[in-house]
């Protein structure tokens, strides 16, 4: 075990949680992340390997799907992000590459992103102040990238109208947190 201590994207030793009104905004750091991209001509092998690894086919455009320990998110043509618990999957890229072999390119993304989960009955009101994603219509499992206060973000609906995850490049952590808390206060 190495001797370096981790810092959260917001710069603390532990993730932060803030409650504003009925909303809870939580910094999530216990999630490992990697991208998986199909290689040319390997569709068949990839499908088989992915099915073996995740026990399900990878999701269609605009979809997040939980499959065992893995969260599967469509990110682009032939590309998915795979989530897994950090504690067990810190080396997620190696785990996935071992399973997918030459059928896919795998790249570690864990620390490339900051993730905030927003929960509460007014989460849609909050998102409507921030981004053009049709959050009121998004059902559990909808995932989309969009622009939020000049930051490119991934928006995942974990539970319809109750719970969303927002991911932005890690260096934006402070600005994204600011945008979320300001909007939470704004909706009163």
């Amino acid at each position: 075990m190495h001797s370096l201590a981790a810092l959260t994207p917001l710069g603390g030793p532990l993730p932060k949680t803030e409650k504003i009104g009925t909303l809870t905004i939580s910094e999530i750091t216990n999630c490992a992340l990697a991208s998986v991209t199909l290689r040319r001509g390997k569709d068949q092998a990839f499908a088989v390997a992915a099915e073996t690894l995740f026990a399900t086919a990878l999701p269609a455009p605009g979809v997040w799907q939980q499959a065992g320990v893995y969260g599967l998110i469509w990110m682009g043509p032939d590309q998915w992000f795979i989530e897994a618990p950090f504690a067990s999957h810190e080396d997620i890229a190696q785990i996935l590459k071992a399973g997918l072999g030459d059928s896919a390119s795998v790249t570690e993304q864990t620390d490339g992103w900051v993730r905030f989960d927003v929960q509460g009955a007014r989460v849609v009101d909050l998102l409507e102040r921030l981004c053009p994603a049709p959050s009121r219509r998004m059902q559990t499992g909808a995932a989309t990238r969009t622009l939020l206060e000049h930051m490119g973000c991934l928006v995942i609906c974990r539970e319809t109208a109750q719970h969303f995850s927002l991911l932005a490049p890690r260096s934006y952590a402070k600005s994204l947190a600011h945008a979320l808390t300001a909007a939470a206060r704004s909706i009163g």
Binding site: M1, H2, L7, G112, E128, R129, E149, S186
Partner: protein
């Protein structure tokens, strides 16, 4: 102060009294009042001054189309100039001031302009003020500027918050009058997602201002019941105080919600206003119609207003404009006004109806076939002069005159995508044309359906049709029986006469001005409005454009539609600039990106600098250092002497994988990449297709099918986009996958003669980083600090023995602390971007100042790198003659002939004995720094044929700062030109 003109009824809450101030005087009103209705109830008709002639003015309307009653609301930093008193909701403690006068509102010194008006005809300023030439800027213009403008900004930052928001709906209904409410009920009951927006704070439109019944209910009650039902439907969003300001492409609407303008100040943390972007599948415009005035001599006095406004003030707000009221009309509306006011106990002095066949009345006097020819009362109407059909005239005393000239359907939003309205001869008005914005329908008075019955029916029917388009079936609701009178109107736009008759009241454009424009050939609508300023005021001509057009039509002998059409542009009503900015102002203008070592650097007291959206440590001042130069010099010297550490995470990192990854990079970079070995790094120069350098960086081959390529901080986004373009559009069959990993890895440069020694304390012993095992331009995946996965690259920007070490970002902070801790024995120094810049200039590396978008590989001294043996982006066009001239600029180094002298980047290079002028310009300095290593200033720059001019003495001229330095042309590699340190 009593409300002397407060009359019975209305939608105001008389249980509560609000105090407010206008021009320092305290008045009282009630919740539900506007500033205008409350002032009128208090007997105040004079509320402002016109733009050019400073004529005394009171409200013309009771709505957002108001040209005259324009005031400054609030005080201090919240002062809002040019607010319309007619829509400003009253709240307790409201303060307002009148605008555009010197001295008191009732005694404006600039009213002298009115006396001089013969000289101030349309366009007079284009014809004079030209002599003497210097006088325009020194004398005439300052006077004109001071006199112009209406209200004043406070000059202080706006203290309020503004939000933006995004909504999606099936059907957006714009306007909540009878048509809009009927449409919303129809659509809402169908289950479709509906938004109903209205600028007013009470929904219902004219239903709140009229006295006819809908079945048994009053208009206001019916509207209230409809709103209550809509509020109970989860699929309907009601948005009062929300102005749909513009129709943009593909069904996107902008809307401004005034969240807190009716409050003394917004609640903490909440916005004053919200700019909504509404994505619609269909929209239904139910914006009603705006009554239009008739122009006649002195038709602009306080107390003269639209008939519909008189009714609104009486019926909705319980406010009379005066106890004696005259009506001037060309249609039956004037008679409705007379009946309503009579019912309120006001006296009708006469109804002056321009139609010979005017309806008769036993309740009030009707002067059929008569017109108003003049008025009296400087600060408020006292009487009107009526021209009778027999040629005689008659003076009638009154304090208010209601003018009804017909109705203009409110086609504003139908024109926002340059659709033109068409003429309806029956209404003598423009109605929406054929080219509506995508997905828009129109109903109610906005469509020319002028009776309430027709408005309700057309709103409901339009909603059914809109939803049918979307595959939603809706059924027509049962609608109430109500007013259904035809509009009986004989067009009359102005009363002929010799005096001034106002068309555009705010900008003081009269009938005469339009005639003069015609006389001088400014006939097209565009010329007319630009020459006379007709319709250019804060109301954008909502009550004046048609009148101007009508006068011009008369002059040209053509019909109104042949003369031109009205055109409107967004926004529908003026919108505060802050609302369009939302949260993105001040320090929140753009997000801030922080580096992995940011928190550590902040603890050290680092000075930060903005680099794009990143904040980077610029230098790290230490105790006793009083200038930035001291800190930077120390950081440079310490690095070159022993070891320095710098956070270089901001450089773009792109993971390139796939069996064709090497071939892909070979086509992206001007130089060859195919043969780069695994575990090796290579510098790459990327060209644009036009042969100009786009970016540079290093690419490391981690495996046969896996590369990590870096970009400059500034170009990270653009290069990634370019690579995706090449991958998807140019070579779609290459097996290559890319993804950014910029933020996934914290990357630090460790540079200096002791860099390896320091690293050896960090890198796990299993990995040999000796010069033999890990030579210059080597790379590898390693572990550090007892097993943490990491990447090590032996590359150098400083020219020293250097490595870049990358670890997962969450450990970046700890790694920095470890490096500093372990580096103590070597006096390890953390350096910022400034020292980084100094060292790269000392080494002669090009950076942003050199890669300026006009430099070729040849200019940069890398012409030889452009491989001619392969296809790469930019290689073909880089061969053009203009980019390969013999005297092409070349990047070289410069040093001052006298080492004591300094010089500046941006200086131009002139021959030693040549005159300093553009013809003798030999190039320019791109980057200059003081080199602590050499003890004098050094510079990089582009010099014509520079590679062949080493040793030449030139002048670095900086005339804009009155500076000039003799410089010698030298190699750009000031430090270690042979590269021995790199390879040590």
């Amino acid at each position: 102060m009593s409300q002397i003109n407060r009359i019975a009824g209305g939608l105001i809450d008389r249980q509560k009294t609000l105090e407010f101030q206008f021009d320092g005087k305290t008045y009282q009103g009630h919740p539900g009042d506007t500033l205008a209705s409350a002032l009128l109830a208090n007997g105040v008709r004079l509320m402002g001054r016109s733009f050019k002639y400073h004529r005394p003015r009171g409200p013309l309307t009771a709505g957002s189309e108001e040209p005259n009653a324009i005031v400054a609301l609030r005080a201090g930093a919240r002062q809002e100039p040019n607010a319309r008193a007619t829509v400003a909701e009253l709240y307790d403690g409201l303060t307002a001031r009148s605008q555009n006068h010197i001295g008191r509102l009732s005694f404006d010194l600039l009213a002298v302009n009115d006396l001089l008006s013969p000289f101030f005809a349309a366009g007079f300023y284009y014809k004079t003020f030209m002599w003497p030439k210097a006088f325009w800027e020194k004398l005439y213009e300052p006077i004109i500027r001071r006199a112009a403008g209406l209200g004043s900004l406070s000059g202080q930052p706006d203290p309020d918050l503004y939000d933006k928001g995004f909504l999606h709906c099936d059907l957006l209904i714009i306007g909540a009058g009878p048509a809009g409410l009927a449409a919303a009920l129809t659509a809402g009951r169908s289950g479709a997602d509906v938004i109903l927006a209205d600028e007013d704070f009470v929904l219902g439109g004219r239903l709140n201002s009229e006295t006819y019944r809908l079945d048994e209910a009053t208009g206001a009650d019916w509207a209230r019941a409809a709103v209550a039902e809509l509020a109970s439907l989860p699929n309907v969003r009601l948005m009062a105080r929300t102005t749909v300001l513009g129709a943009f492409d593909h069904g996107i609407y902008g809307a401004l919600e005034r969240v807190a303008d009716h409050l003394p100040s917004p609640a903490a943390g909440t916005p004053r206003q919200i700019l909504w972007r509404i994505y619609t599948k269909r929209s239904l415009l139910c914006a009603g119609a705006i009554e239009r005035p008739i122009a006649f001599e002195n038709n602009d006095r306080p107390g003269i207003m639209l008939g519909s406004a008189l009714r609104s003030y009486a019926n909705r707000w319980g406010a009379a404009v005066g106890q004696e009221v005259a009506i001037f009309t060309n249609n039956d509306e004037g008679h409705s006004t007379a009946r309503d006011l009579l019912a309120k106990g006001l006296r009708i002095a006469a109804v002056i109806d321009s139609r010979a066949d005017a309806p008769k009345s036993t309740a009030y006097e009707v002067l059929a076939g008569a017109v108003v020819t003049n008025t009296a009362g400087r600060l408020g109407l006292r009487s009107v002069t009526v021209g009778l059909p027999n040629g005689q005239s008659r003076r009638i005393d009154c304090q208010a005159l209601g003018v009804s000239g017909g109705w203009n359907p409110n086609v504003h939003l139908t024109c926002h995508q340059r659709g033109r309205p068409s003429w309806d001869a029956g209404l003598a008005a423009f109605v929406p044309g054929a080219n509506l914005p995508m997905g828009m329908s129109v109903a109610g008075a906005a469509m020319g359906q002028m009776s309430t019955t027709a408005a309700l029916a057309s709103g409901a029917a339009a909603a059914v049709a809109c939803l049918a388009d979307l595959g939603v079936s809706a059924s027509l609701p049962k609608l109430p029986a109500t007013e259904d009178s035809p509009l009986r109107l004989t067009p009359l736009f102005h009363v002929p006469g010799k005096g001034r008759a106002w068309l555009d009241q705010q900008n003081d454009v009269t009938v005469k001005d339009v005639k003069l424009a015609h006389q001088e050939g400014y006939i097209s609508v565009e010329h007319l409005k630009r020459y006379t300023t007709l319709g250019m005021a804060t109301d954008q001509g909502k009550t004046s454009n048609i009148g101007g057009l009508a006068v011009m039509a008369e002059m040209t002998g053509k019909s109104i539609p042949e003369t031109g059409t009205t055109m409107f542009r967004p926004p529908y009503t003026p919108v505060s600039i802050a609302a369009f900015a939302g949260r993105a102002s001040g320090v929140d203008f753009r997000p801030t990106r922080l580096t992995p070592s940011h928190h550590w650097a902040a603890e050290q007291g680092a000075v930060f600098v903005e680099v794009g959206m990143w904040l980077r440590a610029q230098w790290f001042p230490r105790a006793g250092e009083t200038t930035w130069r001291q800190s930077v010099d120390r950081e440079v010297l310490a690095t070159r002497k022993s070891v320095g550490i710098c956070d270089v995470t901001t450089l773009g990192k792109i993971d390139v994988q796939g069996t064709d990854a090497a071939e892909f990079l070979n086509r992206i970079y001007a130089n060859a990449f195919g043969k780069l070995g695994v575990g090796k790094v290579r510098y790459g120069l990327m060209l644009r297709e036009d042969g100009i350098a786009m970016d540079d960086g290093t690419t490391a081959r981690l495996a046969e099918d896996h590369f990590v390529t870096t970009t400059t901080t500034a170009n990270a986004v653009g290069v990634y986009r370019h690579l995706e373009f090449c991958r998807q559009c140019l070579w779609p069959d290459l097996d290559v996958q890319i993804i950014s990993t910029t933020e996934a890895w914290a990357q630090y440069s460790i540079a200096g003669p002791n860099a390896r020694k320091l690293l050896e304390k960090i890198v796990d012993p299993a990995f040999d980083i000796s010069n033999a095992a890990f030579p210059y331009m080597g790379c590898g995946e390693i572990t550090v600090c007892g097993g943490l996965r990491a990447r090590l690259f032996r590359i150098s920007f400083s020219g020293e023995l250097a490595f870049e070490l990358a670890v997962p970002t969450r450990y970046g902070d700890a790694l920095m602390r470890r490096l500093v801790e372990d580096g103590r024995e070597y006096d390890a120094t953390v350096y910022g971007t400034e020292a980084l810049g100094v060292m790269r200039i000392e080494k002669g590396h090009a950076a942003g100042n050199e890669l300026n978008g006009t430099s070729t590989a040849l200019n940069l001294g890398m012409g030889g790198m452009v491989s001619k043996k392969k296809d790469a982006i930019g290689s073909t066009l880089s061969e053009r003659e203009g980019l390969n001239q013999p005297d092409a600029l070349r990047l070289v180094g410069f040093r001052p002939v006298d080492p004591q002298h300094n010089f500046a980047a941006g200086s131009h290079l002139i021959g030693k004995d040549a005159e300093a002028n553009a013809a003798n310009d030999q190039g320019y300095l791109t980057s200059v720094a003081f080199s602590p290593s050499l003890g004098h200033s050094i510079g990089l720059g582009y010099l014509k044929n520079g590679a062949a001019r080493t040793g030449e003495i030139l002048r670095a001229v900086n005339p804009v700062q009155n500076a000039e330095t003799l410089v010698e042309v030298v190699s750009a590699h000031f430090i270690d030109p042979e590269g021995e340190r790199l390879r040590a």
